[in-house]
Amino acid sequence: MPYIKEQRKETISVEADWDVGGSTTWKHSTLLREYAHGLKEKKIIGSLCPGCGKVIVPPRNICGRCHRKMDERVVVSDIGTVTCFVISAPVIKGKTKVMGMDPVEMGLVAEGERVISVYVKLDGADSNIDTELINCKPEEVHVGMRVKVVWAKEPQGKLSDLEAVEPLKD
């Protein structure tokens, strides 16, 4: 691209590492684990704010609007509506890299496939989950599309139990 190029002297560098992984212990709540465990029974757990009645999936701890704890749990539907979608460029072996990994080589995506990432508002929830839309052509996805969760064959209580969503057939 014909950007204006500039030439500049470069001085030497000195270096140091920042070992984030080794030096840090993050403290998290057990909420996400609770949510993942629910998936084993094909239950999608959300937290209910006793103040405004909003349901958040996956559950979170605090409702900022009401400034109170969301201690109540509810189960929401595995059917929902696409509120937003993003379609990737075709995934090409040797070209598309995710954290150094090649998704085609790993057998996660077919050569040339366009991954559709969607925001889905599950029925009964007020927030969106982000997941992948499968069994759908990129041309066919639209906002307002009704979709259903695709469950893992043998749910294990992991986040991966909620594999993706697919168009809901009536």
Partner: protein, 158 residues
């Protein structure tokens, strides 16, 4: 403030290390490269006369601009302003490691410089360290123009 929820401790399952490479700028580049000749450069403020080690182009005291011509060669000798003996060392992930051999660290003012530099001390027992002691630089055997060329400082004999 009493309710304490259960928590999960999260550690990285794989190494996660970010690297940094800070460009040093022209004054500092000169300083580092000149170490190869076993020389320590300072920068003398043309206005207030304060001598910075390592050198820099702007005086933090009187704000005058310091030019390359204000670089001045220092003797590599200085006096010990303060010292400490380290019994522990922090590793790269924040654990204090006990040192089998305590290490001495000094705060040193080089001759005709005003900045204090912080340097390892060698060839001296911790008990023999004294404020005001004369110290001198000990160079790495084959200096390459890196900061590591300064091996440590030791007391001046005699």
């Amino acid at each position: 403030m009493s309710s304490q929820s259960e928590i999960v401790l999260t550690k990285a399952p794989v190494p996660l290390v970010f690297g940094f490479q800070w460009s040093v700028g022209e004054m500092m580049e000169k300083f580092i490269k000149t170490l190869a000749d076993k020389k320590i450069l300072g920068a003398k403020c043309p206005q207030c006369g304060y001598v910075y080690v390592p050198p820099r182009w702007r005086c933090g005291k009187c704000y005058a601009k310091i030019e390359e011509g204000n670089l001045t060669e220092l003797s590599g000798k200085g006096i010990l302003l303060s010292y400490t003996t380290a019994y522990v060392e922090l590793d790269g992930v924040g654990n204090f490691k006990e040192l089998s051999e305590p290490k001495a660290i000094g705060a040193i003012k080089l001759e005709s410089a005003d900045s204090t530099i912080f340097m390892p001390l060698g060839e001296v027992k911790p008990g023999d360290l004294k404020e005001g002691m004369k110290v001198e630089v000990v160079w790495r055997e084959e200096p390459k123009g890196e900061l590591a060329d300064i091996k440590y400082f030791r007391p001046v004999k005699g």
